[in-house]
Symmetry: D2
Subunit: 462 residues, 4 copies
């Protein structure tokens, strides 16, 4: 099955929290649905009724994980939620978040987007000290560090815990009477603050604010701990002195096109990237097509720039679920276009530019090029609206190992040959910065290998 | 909830059949998934093992209606399938198709896309003659007429039955050893023939052929009965003398953009309609946006023609399921953009052209215009890539009653006011023909009131 | 797996109806649960709101077939319900009852317990006349006969239909404003009338009346049609002149022990049968055990009569569901006592009398005898509280074919040997009558081959 | 609803483990089903493939908690399982066992039947030391104590952990290569060893051995740790010096009648108790009836001793599930006998002895007496085959609080009046010992208040 999503980086998580005048579980539910693209393996909601925390977690999409009455049974005016990334073969509930627990400092619940590069190391130390681990989440490491801090107040314990960890995290902590929202000192993963009729909201992306009708207040700043309680919002700058390193892949692929970061709309950024790509790597062609849904913005920009018609050369079947039945006759259905269908009448005899957002292993690009050629395309030129991915991410994204990355093994020419394209071009890192519209403050480690956080070579992503 | 699909005509059904050298249930499953946009209420598959027919029907999407092992338990080398349209509030299984039954002429199964205008009348007559009805399907009327025919061969009985009915039908009949595919004499609903490595396939749209890797052979002709059995395909022209009247709404809205009818690709037709709309109803504007997913082709054509940037002004949340939980605080969530989100940064301060495929009751158009204005659009101009819908359909589409149709009650100016648009324009019927690229042979009854089949005023669509 | 229920006759159905001052669906639900032992394959409820009938049918036990909210959505003050017997391998919904349909005489719904011996014949005739059949139920034959009657009133049409059929039936017919309860002229299957605070109830067994708190009024008499409507209950003797032939197996095995027929409590009858068995086929033994749950009453009577201790020699695992997983290591688990466990300490070294209600194919008896011997029983004597089953039933019970019946092939001595028993005895037909406490009026066809209704040799039970 | 199970002590758990030559998950599944009466809230299975542990836990009965394919995906030749007790309103998955975790000493999984009286105290201490708790299980306390032990080998760490806890426990610990089975030093909860074709099995009751076809080897002794690994079974007496105190309620009510403890079959013990009750508290009566299913053995013994007919005066509806729909008309269905039906013909005008196993709060006894009287019983005499329950259990059973226990507030005469019985009698503690057939070594704390383990008054049962 040609599945355009299969050969992509996987975002790890989305988080959402709200302190309201009314019951929050339905609002968190909507918030999580709007962040669903950030994680489809499991979903969870924790709410506090002022005295203690109730939680429900489930496998699958948000509307699979929660039944109607379960939302109703989660009573509370403050709460947090989490969606977790998709793996093939189904996940286990034990790793679903938020992680709720009791300790010396009370009852609390943690929702975490990101990845710690020294989690394995700390885990080993904690185990040596007699700690048990029930999950394989980084979040459980954070929970233990908080509980074991000798500081007497929760804020202090959190600062102490975070001072021991290194990596990317946008973290929500729910206690019986407040929500704490914290972003790592480099601001690697996104986290924004919204206002819903006077109630404070925190979410991974602004699209979640739009969905529930909240207004964007501002982003949580790198190294900031925001505390939302009955009296409103207070801010503490708890971790300082690091250079910003916001994940550039949020712009390139992860975020919903209607979200914005640092005042920049994601669709607009992608379209810019497409225009720059067109300007710097032009060609003569009959049509431009994107690969639905992720590269449509970049493809539109590319087409606009070169004044080549932008066509729906590939159509996506929206009804193919994740638990699709396996064909009984393997050999026969192999070539079948279940998820992506080339439109023969559009591509036949044409010189086609296929714009995609990125190439990871290259396997899917190869299949799509082949689909287009079978459908009659005379030439297929591939243009990628990001630089070549040569290094794995250790900061919250599920990437292939270095050896599997196509660009790690081959130069662009060899890559073109490998995927069967008549030509192939990528953006440079400089062009990426230009398209995003900033000069610094981005993490581009997967392109350059320059990690913002010291990374041991064998550090394993979650 | 602003749901762009809510105020649309509803297609009634999709059908699929195949006679193969191998087990067909998995292939029918894939075929139905690719026709899922034609019906989401229920799905069914009937297969024959050469001796008798086995069937399974279920509610919901194809992958909800069938469990993996159920596909495996449907054994047979020939079979047919059906998807049925979505209603709100859930359907009943009793009306799901195919309809399988036994009669004098043997065991058979019927899958029907279309609507009979004299079904109620015939039903009353049959009841008077002692017939019981277990469903409210037109298909059961057809079954009874076949069974009650005095002709001794099945083909004759079918011709006799069809000579009594009036209306739209693309009909598949499975018997233990063959598939019969019949199209009404005006060819109102689509039906195409494909070839999968030598096996014959029939389907409502060509996208189903592409999905399973079959090649298009040709359309079943109006009034033709195609019989597919062990010896191949034979054709009988059984009903003649009527003028073609292919449903123009298949081009405008129903069909998947990658399908083609009469040699014309649907996306290309829609883009043409958008271009004609732009040419004949031009305006100055900053951006053009479609309403995802149905009007994206027309919007792209519109933008291209006028050289106005085509932007993703509205983003659709793909993860909102059909069984979405109801908000507990009605008043609060009312304004919420669960399914459709305007991109503020793109529309703020802009003159926006919103291109849509059609307006039925106008309620959704009104809400989307309002969303765009709230998001900061300076002006919102609505352009509709089809004529004004003034008459209900009686031929296979679930439309509102005449009184509810916005265009039935108001002229274009009043309609613009009603939906809050700064300007509004529709295509004329002539422009529609031009865009589709033919001079005659289309049913445009919902625009003109000129039904290709005599219709009693109170005839009720299924 | 030794399953004491596997080698039994299968009752075909249970029916329940009520006309009330309040919503009846929950009461029908309870009534069906109390009749669950009569059928576990599917369940259905039809109710009328005075104008039209709404129905819901589902596979499995009553509480699997209906979700809570579905009961709530069935609105009406009169209604009927049905449970259908269990087959292995799962049934199909299409055959679940009640069967609801429209015809010349209006909207109605049928629930049927019994079997027609001339259904196949009538079906063929009806098919020749152009009738289609969607199910393989006898009930559909009845529906067609009613619809095709030329009489103008429903009662007349029903009488006309029933005059054409032969066999066993306890039949409930729901129309929009009344319930009709009819019993075949021989009264083969049971049907009782109850009174719940002034509301009339009909049910297959009195245990259903007890469960909902209704009092027994009387049985529906053989050949009687009882009509329950707004004005109360009226009775018509519509079919006369036949000798009573109430199924003796209702006493022996099918009915719940707390039910009563003809003023006789089922448990008391079974205990009597056990006593007579003990008196006429006595022996010396250490303990008596029944096979839970069906023969506990007879075993208790047997033990009491001979003053031998009655012990729980076999214990049943109540939590083994019907959808039990299959062992992955076939060979290993074969000998395993999943459903029935002999109590070693009770049977070891003992002379055991195992009392059972009947022997059909003998396969289970053989396994249980073997279980007891393996558990250390010195001798196992089998006593059966009914005569030898030599003939299949054609009147509403799913029996093995004649050739499979152990008693059809062997005399008692050979049977004893076949099942490994040290001795074996059955009741005679005369002793059966004595134990039930009547001299005539019972159907004992499965023991004697004298069918109360003429039966063609190849007539196939449903 | 009169539910005979509602007013009973609730057993907390059942455990099962096996080290085999073949895949064990299906065998554990069967073992758990046979222990299902010990817990219906949740079920879990952990298996090891030699390297690491895989687990699956689910809510509900064993066959609800596990789907067929899930059993197949648990690969390993050694494993343990757990069933947890039923609460009303559904449990939470977080507390389901086995509890699987990683710590300094490796990967392990714990299944625990019992209750610790100092768990709350230890938990507080551990929290002060920085430990987080994710569940409210005692088992998590044990896990932390093992992980925090400073001993370097696992056996030593377990001994160290257990030396800190007080209470009842039958404990299974699975590591990647062995199973450890431990029983508290007083042997309060049962635990037996079996042999299945050379493979060692451990289980809460012998009925689980019978079910899978294993032979009883012996019980795990109080204070013993049995280690089962590749090389077979080794035994360590790790906790000594305490007097035996096996829970007498296992004999009275919890265990399945076909199980045996200390060489005594449970059914036989119960029958003995019934006989002693009859001998010492005789009366004239017409029939004896038990309350299905728990007191049938005692009732049979009672009837046998006094030579009064033993009748099925109460019949249980076996098909009433746990998720039974709520009646919509509360008032109307209140009096309804959904779960227990008195057989009028047996009790009408009779002097009835109702034998039950125990009285806790007395609410159900009262209802059943009332049912029998309404059914026409002239007199209802209640005989209880155990002493008066005056004290709550703190050792693994979910009891009502002291104040709710009927016998705590009233003498026997007043209790008789409270439940509406014409007479009432209990066994004395001495008679209980006599019936069980031992002189010492039983825990009878709920009758006497003499707890074998020091108990703080506010100690809360799990």
């Amino acid at each position: 099955m040609v599945n355009p999503d299969q050969d992509k980086f996987k975002e790890e998580c989305g988080v959402f929290g709200i302190f309201s005048k009314e019951s929050v579980a339905p609002i968190i539910y909507y918030g999580l649905v709007s962040l669903q693209h950030r994680g489809q393996e499991s979903a969870g909601i924790s709410v506090s009724n002022g005295d203690y925390i109730t939680e429900k977690r489930g496998l699958g999409l948000v509307d699979e994980a929660f039944k109607d009455y379960e939302i109703g049974s989660l009573k509370g005016r403050l709460g947090i939620g989490h969606v977790r990334y998709a793996t093939f073969g189904g996940g286990t509930l034990i790793n679903a978040q938020p992680l709720t627990f009791n300790c010396r400092l009370g009852n609390m619940s943690l929702a975490h987007n990101g990845n710690l590069v020294n989690a394995v190391e700390i885990r080993k130390q904690l185990e040596q000290q007699g700690t048990i681990f029930q999950t394989t989440n980084d979040s459980e490491v954070i929970a233990h560090l908080i509980a074991r801090s000798t500081t007497d107040d929760l804020e202090g314990a959190i600062v102490s815990a975070l001072s021991q960890i290194r990596g990317a995290y946008s973290l929500l902590i729910l206690t019986p009477d407040k929500i704490m929202a914290i972003r790592d000192p480099r601001g690697i993963r996104p986290l924004v603050i919204g206002n819903l009729d006077g109630d404070f909201v925190v979410a991974s992306e602004t699209c979640a604010l739009d969905t529930i009708g909240a207004d964007l207040v501002r982003e949580v700043e790198p190294g900031e701990m925001v505390i939302i309680d009955e009296s409103g919002l207070t801010s503490n700058k708890i971790l300082t002195g690091k250079k910003n390193a916001f994940c550039s892949f949020e712009y390139i692929y992860f975020a919903r096109p209607d979200s914005e970061f640092q005042g920049k709309n994601v669709h607009v950024v992608r379209k810019n990237l497409g225009k720059i790509l067109a300007k710097n790597y032009p060609l003569e062609a009959d049509i431009v097509t994107g690969v639905p849904d992720s590269s449509l913005s970049a493809a539109a920009g590319f087409a606009e720039q070169l004044n080549i018609p932008y066509e729906m050369g590939l159509v996506r079947n929206r009804y193919i679920g994740r638990t699709f039945i396996k064909p009984s006759q393997e050999n026969r259905i192999t070539g079948v276009n279940l998820k992506l269908n080339p439109v023969k009448q559009l591509v036949k005899g044409k010189r086609v530019v296929m714009v995609d957002d990125s190439i990871v292993r290259g396997t899917t690009s190869k299949r799509i090029v082949s689909l287009l050629k079978k459908a009659g395309a005379k030439e297929v030129h591939v243009r990628i609206a990001s630089p070549t991915v040569k290094y794995p991410c250790h900061l919250g994204i599920d990437t292939s190992s270095k050896g599997e990355l196509l660009a790690n093994k081959k130069n662009v020419e060899a890559m073109a040959k490998a995927i069967g394209a008549d030509s192939l071009a990528f953006l440079t890192e400089k062009e990426l910065y230009l398209g995003i519209g900033c000069k610094e403050g981005l993490c581009t480690a997967c392109f350059t290998g320059e990690y913002p956080v010291p990374v041991k070579s064998e550090s394993k992503s979650k």
